[in-house]
Subunit: 296 residues, 2 copies
DNA sequence: TAGTGTATTTCATCCTCAACTAAAACAATC
DNA sequence: GATTGTTTTAGTTGAGGATGAAATACACTA
């Protein structure tokens, strides 16, 4: 059978998610129409996704009767493959940090260097431009906007976040879902209890990003949300190769948990103050050799 | 002769700007190499631009000798043609505001409706997505993220700016160029002294945007700058067809001028407070029939 | 009738080719 | 020797076609 499309893979994952949410068990029957409607998509990709799931033995098709659920795979089994563009972006940022890239690059150079098609290279550069990392030169080519390992950049980022993030929880409409708090707390506790491995640094960064982004989203104000998301994207580029000690992880998690506690208790001013000091402390950390940036 | 390229037109304008900055007069000689270097561009487009200027009688080429300046056209003579994409964006935003566009559009529909090529339509949609105005649907097409004339959106924008902009002038590195202050002051005074015409509303908006963006740029922090610029772009879409009264223009200019005064005197805290009340006042204005948004 | 199976249409992406533009190298002239 | 004129090379953009995927409409089955 044909390889699954990005969308089909995505739909397949979301179908499994729906099945879990509805607490369906083996033997349950799925409905193409409803599924398609719930996912906001036509039946075509849903059918394709179901075909793929059938191949994996998760469901079984019965001719003209429907789809039977056979066995539900474990959560997180489908190892989301990050997009090629994402990978290339991280790689590019990394090479730039280490002085392997000149101050100016052409589109073609990006294509060759990271083995991308033209549209992909264009998207990549557009996204970097959006993050204020590069800009178009007047004629051809692109120019990096700051030096590798620019300390000023990091300071600027913290100063910006210091203005934005503590204000989030003071916004009028600020509201956190109880479920979100619970999930965040669980994820943080996991890091406190299990031993730290270098390999978990990417997942740790993502949890951090989700924490800060979630707080911004809770304002209900899309501009706060998108400003924080933008900062996260930016930091993601340089932070994927952290060298991070367990103490730092511990401090970070503890501070996050404290904020969650106060927010749950409705003490938003306290949480706001905590956020401020949290960011201040992070901004003052000395940078280790491999520590281009750190947790928050 | 071939029609001037976007870049060539741009270079031509900037050459004239350089000539003015250097206070060159008729009879002066221009140097291709230096010009190219100053503009950060190769000689090729500079030559082309000079050819176009020669056609218009601004300069004259002497074979193997150089370029002689003949007559300097008046400022603002070259009516900057905004990019086709810009125009289409404004038009699209306008139609959307007036309910002429459905909640979902396809790329092709954008191409047809605004007579754009595919790459242009893609760029347009990408930029709208960047401004959080639309998002990709899972399958095909794009979806508008908010209702036309969404009041909430406007409130959110003000709340965000209320957090960001007053903090700009309190940032450690904040520094305004004296020349910038002088120019801004002059432009504002012009609006106070000359009678208000409906036709000046676009120019008025641009002055406003330049004011706020300039203050953000003065922080030396690119994140403040880019956050404010983003807000300006967003507002530009819905604000180009203002219906604005002279009183509002007057109040707006007066407040801006007061801020400039205090900033010049080093009283940044005062200016910051003024900015806060400035934004608050603007956010509380009642919206007139055509007043989708207002000055600040 | 409510659902799946099938076909058709619309849409988007990818690719390649052609045209053109800018950059860089070289030649010619003052 | 510096500056302009010319050529060469590299890079980018735009247009059309092929491919494949999603949306839609229709047919079929329980």
């Amino acid at each position: 059978m044909a390889a699954p499309t990005r969308l089909q893979q995505d739909i397949a994952d979301r179908i499994l998610q729906l099945v879990r949410d509805d607490a369906l068990t083996s033997g349950a029957w799925l409905n193409e129409n409803q599924t398609a409607k719930r996912l906001g998509v036509s039946r075509t990709p849903v059918r394709a996704a179901l075909d793929h799931l059938a191949e994996q033995g998760v469901v079984r098709r019965h001719l003209n009767k429907g789809i039977e659920l056979i066995s539900l795979p474990a959560v997180g089994d489908s190892a989301r493959t990050p997009e090629a563009i994402e990978l290339a972006m991280v790689k590019l940022a990394h090479e730039r940090e280490n002085g392997l890239l000149p101050d100016e690059v052409s589109e073609l150079e990006v294509m060759r260097r990271y083995e991308l098609g033209r549209p992909e290279a264009q998207k990549l550069l557009a996204r970097l431009a959006d993050l204020d990392m590069v800009e178009r030169k007047p004629g051809y080519g692109w120019r990096f906007l700051h030096e590798p390992r620019d300390k000023r950049l990091r300071d600027e980022s913290y100063r910006f976040r210091l203005v934005i993030e503590p204000m989030c929880m003071l916004e009028p409409g600020f509201h956190l879902e109880a479920a979100w708090i619970a999930e965040m707390r669980a994820r943080h506790l996991e890091y406190l209890q299990s031993p730290w491995r270098e390999s978990s640094s990417i997942a740790f960064y993502e949890m951090n990003a989700a924490f800060h982004e979630g707080l911004a989203a809770a304002t209900g104000n899309r501009y706060f949300h998108s400003a924080v998301r933008r900062q996260n994207q930016l930091r993601r580029l340089s932070n994927y190769d952290w060298g991070l000690g367990f103490e730092r992880v511990q401090v970070n998690c503890t501070e996050h948990l404290a904020m969650l506690d106060h927010l749950e208790a409705g003490e938003n001013e306290v949480a706001s103050a905590l956020m401020r000091s949290h960011l201040l402390r992070a901004s003052k950390l000395k940078l280790g050799s491999r520590q281009v940036d750190e947790a928050d």
